[in-house]
Structure formats: C-alpha cells, structure tokens
C-alpha cells in the first residue's frame, strides 16, 4: 500500500502545502489514519481513491489552521461570461536544452503551481501530474466531473501564462530575468 500510493499522497500534499516538511507530516498522518481505519474500508471505492481522500482532507485541515493563506489568486483573467482570456501570445515551445536539462525547469514548474489557488491545485496535481482520471479526481475532491474539467482548464491556462512569463524569449531579460534566476 505504501509503495503503490505514497507517491501520489506525497505529491498531492506537497502541492497543497507548498512545504516538504508539512507534506511529510500529511503523508505520515494519512497512512497512520488509513492503517487504523483499514478494517472499515469497505471497498466501495478503490483503495487509492480512499487514501487520497484522507490525504486531501488532512491537507485541507492544516491549510484551514494556517492564519495567513499562502496561496495567491493568480487565476487567469476572466471575461464577463467566465471565460479565461489569455494575456500572453508568445510561442516558447522550443525550450533550449540548458533549461530542460538543468534543475531550473523544476523550480519554475514548482513556483508556478504554488501560485495557483488551492481549489485549482488539487485538481491539477491529481489530473495532470499524477495522471488520475476525471472520475477518480472528482471522487477524491468531492466535485462533479464537470467541475473538475472546468478547474483543470483554468489551472492549465493560468500555468500557461506563468510559464510564458518565464520562458518567452522576451521574458528573459531585465526584471523578469531576475525572477528567472531566483527560480533556480
């Protein structure tokens, strides 16, 4: 159970807490709670789904206890009908090897996810980082599948904006260059 599921539990906790120490605590809490409650696991959901729900709730409890929310509201601009509008239209899809091969990329990816609101982060980690299905993600987060899709789309658009800021050729000079270096 630990070998199979600790990775997703840890990644969910890490992205929600934005802190490796607290992610480890959530990881331990999750498996301790799970072992204690294992005889009550009825197999109505998959074991993974059940575990990830425990982890998600444990992380949420901790986030609520934090006095100052650390997440920012960096969602994409929304038009009146709720559609997200892209702000940046620069192509950066051919990333130079020096970025792909360095630790820099991971730093940039981490920082961008950390800026998503909590509600988008949970969906994004489970769907796009851990590769769970829409249905399983919905069951874990207690959302409808339609809601998962909407949030995933918003999260991706917001991350695209963030990554464009870092990776667009014009974004690599001046003040943004500073942010770029800090992200390493």
């Amino acid at each position: 159970m630990v070998e199979r599921h600790s990775g997703t539990v840890y990644n969910l906790a890490l992205r929600l807490m934005n802190n490796p120490q607290e992610a480890e605590e959530v990881l331990q809490e999750t498996f301790i709670s799970a072992y204690r409650a294992l005889d009550r696991f009825e197999g109505r959901s998959k074991l993974g789904t059940w575990l990830y729900r425990i982890a998600y709730n444990a992380a949420l409890m901790r986030l609520r206890k934090r006095r100052v929310p650390t997440s920012s509201i960096d969602e994409p601009l929304l038009t009146e009908d709720g559609e997200a509008m892209p702000r940046q239209l620069v192509d950066w899809t051919s990333l130079p090897d020096e970025i792909l091969l360095s630790g820099e990329l991971r730093g940039v990816l981490d920082e961008a996810v950390a800026k998503l609101s909590e509600t988008l982060r949970g969906v994004f980690v489970l769907r796009d980082i851990e590769g769970l299905s829409t249905a399983e993600t919905a069951a874990i987060l207690d959302l409808t599948e339609a809601n998962v899709k909407v949030r995933l789309h918003r999260a991706r658009l917001a991350l695209r904006e963030q990554l464009t800021t870092y990776f667009a050729p014009t974004g690599r000079v001046g003040a943004r260059g500073g942010a770029y270096v800090r992200a390493v």
Partner: protein, 78 residues
Amino acid sequence: MSVLCRETLGMLSEYLDGELDEQLCAELERHMAECGDCRVVVDTLRKTVALYHTHGHRDVPADAKARLYAVLSLETGS
C-alpha cells in the same frame, strides 16, 4: 481575440484531452489553421501540460519514506 477565439479557448483542454466530438474538433482545427493567436495558445498549453506530465512529479524523499515506514511499524507493532 474574436468570438470564435473565445469559443476555441473554452474547448482547448477537452481538445487536448481528446474529449471533443469530431465535428467540434474539426471546427476548432479549421479556426486554428487561420488564427495565429489560437495556435500559439494551443501549442503553449499543450507544452505546459506535457512539461508537468514529464517533470511535475516529485519522488518521496528517501529519508521521508524511511521515516514513514518507521512510524508505521510502530503503529502496526503496538
């Protein structure tokens, strides 16, 4: 960005996930063929998803995993 661009934008995730029906998919591709802005958005959005897919997961640190096993063996041993 036009009304068509906005409609396109709203469907991009479903498009990338292969969840759009054939007709919408064709309409979207027709629009993208003539709209550079939407092409950039879809290309960079696809790249964003791919980067996280490949580089987004963080392994549980070895020491954290060792501590987890230690805590659990205490738990199950008691």
